[in-house]
């Protein structure tokens, strides 16, 4: 007897899948934004901050980059209520909040390292030129260092963002009902395991392609304009 593919039972739960898809999208966008803000702040502190702050950020970054995400997730989900209890707090994070927090601090650590590399790619002479014009430290960072730094690391940041989207599937293990979480539910109800996972596999792939398209379009729109292609530079000489 050969296996009969039956997607009908899976498609019958399309509404559930759509909810899961939307939650994946929401987790991705929110985590991406929080992670970016966290990464930006931490990279600036790690590079230009006072020594104790630099050490604190370095510790954060190394801890989260050198431990498994799944374990970080469990620690946050199960550990925070325990820590809260010892301080007399009765607070339970929802799976969604715990997932969002774990993803954000994890991606924040990676974003910090990427952006820090960008800050270091801006030559010291740029800083001297800006300081010599009377700009404050903060103005130099904000207007002279950050724009080219972010431009330099944009490709690395955008592939990190795609990895983050794929990584959101891990939070299904604490029963967040994002795309993978809903797939787990559907396959346990329908016993159509292969069909269910094949379907979300295609959805993840499509979403990754779409996100990459959007990120590339942003790059073409904002970064392409800042840095004209060498051909244009050559023409201007003539």
């Amino acid at each position: 007897m050969t296996y009969q593919f039956q997607f009908g039972a899976v498609f019958a739960r399309a509404e559930l899948l759509i909810d899961g898809f939307l939650l994946t999208l929401q987790l991705t966008v929110l985590t991406g934004l929080i992670g970016l803000i966290l990464g930006l702040s931490c990279a600036v502190i790690r590079t230009y901050g006072p020594r104790p702050a630099r050490m604190a950020v370095a510790t954060y970054v190394e801890i989260f980059r050198n431990t498994p995400f799944l374990v970080q997730l469990f620690l946050i989900f199960f550990g925070i209520p325990e820590i809260g209890k010892t301080f007399g707090l009765r607070w339970l994070p929802s799976p969604y909040m715990a997932g969002l927090a774990a993803l954000s601090v994890n991606i924040g650590a990676y974003a910090t390292e990427i952006i820090r590399a960008g800050l270091q790619s801006v030559h010291r002479s740029q800083v001297e030129a800006a300081e010599s014009l009377g700009l404050t430290r903060w103005q130099v960072i904000r207007y002279v260092i950050l724009p080219p730094a972010l431009r330099n690391v944009y490709p690395a940041l955008s592939s990190e963002f795609i990895l983050l989207m794929l990584g959101t599937s891990v939070v299904s293990v604490i029963s967040v009902e994002e795309l993978t979480g809903t797939a787990n539910l559907i396959q346990s109800e329908t016993y159509r395991t292969f069909e269910t996972y094949a379907l979300i596999w295609v959805i993840y792939f499509a979403l990754a392609l779409v996100l990459k398209g959007i990120l590339d379009a942003i790059a073409a729109r904002f970064i392409g304009r800042q840095k004209p292609p060498p051909a244009a530079a050559g023409a201007a000489h003539a």
């Binding site: 740029q126 001297e128 700009l135 430290r137 840095k227 004209p228 530079a233 000489h237």
Partner: protein, 242 residues
């Protein structure tokens, strides 16, 4: 009152004594050229004048400010002391216009329209009006250096410092930058320049200082210094640069 007064300035990098008891003064509207062999401390002395390097001993007064390293005081000094570097150091992500407008907007807090008018004005004085919207990498080296000069001029400094601003340029492009500096000198700007362009120093500078081993080895009006070097070191340096 002199526009620049340097007294008893010393500076070391680790165990290397780079400046030894430097004394100088320059009147408003004059040009001082610093010449000397590689490693004699010319750039370091220039960079000390706007606080890019810290001095270990001595005093510097420039453009009406006594050099101090308190951040706010240093920023006020730098508003009145422009510096132009060998490598131009334009901001690559900003157009020429925005490179020039940045400091007037952020430091002088001028509204955009006023900063733009000023940028167009200084760009015209370096002969690059049509490059307002170009990016630095669309310009030749000589044009980039003239933009860098314009960027400093936009702050209406009292004194301008130049560190070998033509050394990175192809020979055919040095002329346009030297002419720009000559015009600036004629307009009455007080200028200090580190240069290897001996004929420029000789014909345009008022005072020339020959640095040797971290000291001002000889200092004199340009004509005298080149015509009658008093020390063997300067004689040898001049004959080696011919």
């Amino acid at each position: 009152m002199s526009a620049l007064a340097v007294s008893g300035v010393s500076k070391r990098f680790g165990s290397l004594q780079v400046l030894r008891d430097i004394n100088l003064s320059l009147e408003k509207g004059q040009m001082l050229a610093l010449i000397g062999r590689s490693g004699s401390g010319k750039s370091t002395l220039l960079r000390c004048m706007n606080g890019l390097e810290r001095i270990d001993a001595g005093h510097i007064t420039i453009g009406g400010h006594a050099l101090s390293y308190a951040p706010a005081a240093l920023r006020r000094l730098r508003q009145d002391v422009g510096i132009v570097f060998q490598a131009y150091n334009l901001f690559p992500h900003l157009t020429v216009g925005r490179n020039i407008m940045l400091a007037p907007r952020l430091v002088l807090r001028w509204p955009s329209a006023r900063a733009e008018a000023r940028a167009r004005e200084v760009l015209a004085t370096v002969g690059l009006s049509e490059k307002f919207d170009a990016y630095p990498n669309q310009l030749s080296g000589g044009q980039q250096q003239r933009v860098a000069i314009a960027r400093s001029l936009a702050m209406a400094p009292q004194v301008m410092l130049f560190d070998e601003v033509t050394s990175a340029l192809d020979p055919e492009l040095t002329g346009e930058v030297l002419i720009t500096m000559e015009n600036l000198a004629r307009s009455g700007m007080t200028m200090v320049l580190v240069t290897h362009e001996m004929s420029f120093a000789r014909s345009i500078a008022h005072i020339v200082a020959f640095m040797h081993d971290g000291r001002i080895h000889e200092i004199a009006p340009a004509k005298d210094l080149f015509a009658r070097p008093r020390t063997e070191e300067l004689r040898r340096f001049l004959s080696s640069t011919l």
